[in-house]
C-alpha cells in the first residue's frame, strides 16, 4: 500500500488529478482499447474533477476512449435532483469534457428491478474488461462507496440500507430534514472494487483521521470497510496533513520519506500530446 501525504486539500486534488492524467495517457487508449475508470462523488473528489477539466481544456487529456463506472447512487431519488449522483457527475464533470455519453455508467436508483440493475452493472464492468483504476472516497466511519460498517468484504453491487450516521451526515444536503434523505442506495461492493487493477482512495480532513488510522494501522475489519484494501496489491491512498492526525508519528514519517518515490508516479514524460 502507498500513502501519499500532501500538505493541503488542494494538493490532494492536484496530485490525484495528475495521477489520473498520467495513467490515462500512459495507457494510450484508443477505439479498441478503452481505459476503464471507477468514479466517486462527494466533496472530496471535487477538486480533482476541476483539475481534470482544466487539463481537458488545455488539451492535455481526452476522455474520448474512457469508460466510466460510478460507485453508487441513491434509491428513489429523482435523477435530476441536485443531490443525485447523476446530477453531480453531469454538472461537475461530464458536461465539461469530451466523454461519449454511451461510455458513462451510473447505477439507476429508479430502476423497477433494482437487483437486476445491480447484476447488469457487474456484467457491464466485466464486459468492459474490468476496472483499470477505481477512485474512491470514504466516510468518517470508514465506508467506501455505500459499503456501510458491517458490509461483507466480499460484497458485490447491491441495494444497501444506509446507516443512521450516514443519514444524519447527509441530512444537510436535504434541507436538514433527515426524513428527506433517501434510506437506501445502490452501491458497488467491496469485492467489486477489490477486483479493479488499481484503487486510489482520497481522504481529507481531520474528521476522517480516525478512519485513515483504521484503514492502515489496524487490521482488516468489516466495520471499517476501507481497511479491506490492505489486501489489494495496488492501493494508493492520497491524504492531506489533517487526515494524518490519528496516525503514529512513525507511520507518517515513513510515508513522508517516500515522497520522492511517490513524485515519480506523477511525473509527466516529455512527449508530445
Amino acid at each position: 500500500m502507498r500513502l501519499v501525504i500532501c500538505d493541503t486539500v488542494d494538493y490532494v486534488a492536484d496530485w490525484s488529478a495528475k495521477y489520473v492524467l498520467k495513467r490515462i495517457n500512459d495507457f494510450n487508449p484508443n477505439e479498441n482499447k478503452y481505459f476503464v475508470l471507477g468514479l466517486p462523488t462527494g466533496g472530496t473528489p471535487l477538486g480533482m474533477y476541476k483539475k481534470l477539466i482544466t487539463y481537458y481544456q488545455q488539451g492535455k487529456i481526452s476522455f474520448k476512449y474512457v469508460k466510466t463506472f460510478n460507485m453508487d447512487e441513491y434509491v428513489d431519488l429523482p435523477r435530476d435532483h441536485p443531490e443525485s449522483y447523476h446530477y453531480y457527475m453531469y454538472n461537475n464533470f461530464f458536461k465539461h469534457i469530451d466523454i461519449n455519453p454511451e461510455n458513462v455508467h451510473i447505477l439507476d436508483g429508479n430502476a423497477t428491478d433494482l437487483e437486476k440493475e445491480c447484476n447488469d452493472f457487474e456484467r457491464k464492468i466485466n464486459e468492459a474488461g474490468g476496472i483499470e483504476l477505481f477512485i474512491g472516497g470514504i466516510g468518517p466511519d470508514g465506508h467506501i462507496a455505500f459499503n456501510e460498517p458491517g458490509s461483507s468484504l466480499a460484497s458485490r453491487t447491491r441495494v444497501k440500507t444506509l446507516a443512521q450516521d450516514t443519514l444524519e451526515a447527509n441530512a444537510r444536503f436535504f434541507g436538514n430534514d433527515i426524513n428527506k434523505v433517501p434510506k437506501q442506495a445502490l452501491t458497488v461492493g467491496v469485492g467489486t472494487v477489490m477486483d479493479s487493477k488499481e484503487v486510489m482512495i482520497l481522504i481529507t480532513g481531520s474528521h476522517k483521521a480516525f478512519a485513515l488510522y483504521k484503514a492502515i494501522e489496524e487490521g482488516v475489519n468489516h466495520m471499517w470497510t476501507v481497511s479491506a484494501f490492505q489486501q489489494h496489491p495496488r492501493t494508493l491512498i492520497i491524504c492531506d496533513e489533517d487526515a494524518t492526525l490519528e496516525l503514529r508519528v512513525k507511520t507518517v514519517k515513513y510515508f513522508k520519506s517516500l515522497w520522492d518515490i511517490h513524485s515519480k508516479l506523477i511525473e509527466q514524460e516529455s512527449r508530445a500530446k
Binding site: 435530476d80 455519453p101 454511451e102 458513462v104
Partner: protein, 405 residues
Amino acid sequence: MGVLKQFCNCRILRDSRIQTEDLWVRDGRIINPERIFYDEKIKPDVKIDCGGALISPGYIDVQINGGFGIDFSFNVNNVEEGIDRVAKGLLTHGVTSFCPTLVTSPSEIYHKILPRIKKRNGGSHGACVLGVHTEGPFISPNKKGAHPEHYIKKFDQGFKSVIDMYGDLDNICMFTLAPEIPNAISVIEELCKRNIKVSLGHSIANLNEGEEAVKHGASFITHLFNAMLPFHHRDPGLVGLLTSDKIPFGRIVHFGIISDGIHTHPAALRIAHRTHPEGLVLVTDAISALGLEEGIHQLGQFKIEKRKGCAYIAGTDTLCGSITEMSKCVRYFKDATGCTVVEALEAATLHPARSLGIDSYKGILNFGADADFILLDEKLELLSTWISGECVYEKIPGSTKQLEV
C-alpha cells in the same frame, strides 16, 4: 426530433442569476442537457460559439402603439401588413414578443382592426404577437393624455358596453381602464374570467379605488406616474398600490414604466424600482416614429419630427410620444437606478411575462420554455435575436459561429 443545438461559450440568465452555463435547444424549446446525456446518450448536432455573450430571454413589450411608420390604431386598411412590419422591426431591438396597443378609438375601428390582429408565434417573420392591449376608451377624460376625448366611454351597460365597443374580445390580452368609472368592478371581474389582464390607468382613482380594483382582479398599472393623480402623502392615488398593504397575499401588482429618460424622471424611476422592484415592467409605449430615421415624417394625419432621439410635432417643441427602443430602455433603467444586470433584464423579460401569466414558457430560460432569447455584450448592446432557437436577427450578419461537432 429536430436539430439539437448547444449554445456554448456564454453566460445565461436563469433563476435570477447569471450563470456560466450552456444553453441547449431543440424543437423550439430550451431543454435539459442532462436528460439528453443520460437518456438519449447523444451529442449536439450543432454547436454555436457565443463568443462570451450574455444570453437573456427576449424582451417582451406589453405596451407599444406602433413603430416603423405604423400606428396600430390608425392603420385600418392594412392591419396584417402593419403588424408584420412592426413585428419584423422589433427583432432588431431584441423584442421577441409584444402586445400591439390600441388607443381610444371609435367602436367601428375596433371592429375592423381587432379581429385582424391575431395572436401568433414569432419567427423569422417577426416577434410573437401575444395579444392586443386595449388602452381606452374606458378611461377618465381628466387623464386622457393624447387620447381623443370625444371617444372616451363609460360602462353604462356594464360588461355589455365592453362587448358593444370591441365586438370579439378573443384577441385582447390586456385591458387598461379607469377603476373609478361606475360598474368598473363588475367589468374587471368579467375580464379576469376571460383571462384578460386588467391594468389601471388614465385614471383619477384614489388608492382605495385602486385597491378595490386589485381585490377584484386588476393586476397591472399602465405607465406608472403618467396619466394618473400625482403621488400625495394623504391620498397616494394609484401610485400608492406599489406599497399598499391591501394587496391579496401572494399576488404581485405589476406596473408598466417608460424608461426613456424623458417620460419618467430618473428619480421617479428610482422610487418605483426601490419601493416595488418585483412589479416593475419596462414598456416602450412607442409611437409610429419608433425605428425611423431622424427628420420629418408624415404619419397618418400627423407630421412628426424626429430630432435627437425625441419625437416632436413637426416644427414645435411639443413631445408627441415615446420612441425609445426596448434595448435602450433596459440600459437607461440600469444606469438610472443602479440596479443589477439581472434586475434590468428581468424588468423586460420575466416581469412582463409574469404580468401576463405566461412566465412558465416566456421571459425565462428554464427547461421547457420557448427558446426566444437574445445575445448581449457586456454593455447590454444587442448582438443577435433568436426565436424558437433560430437566429432571426444579427447586428453583424454572419457573426454567429458554428463549431465542428
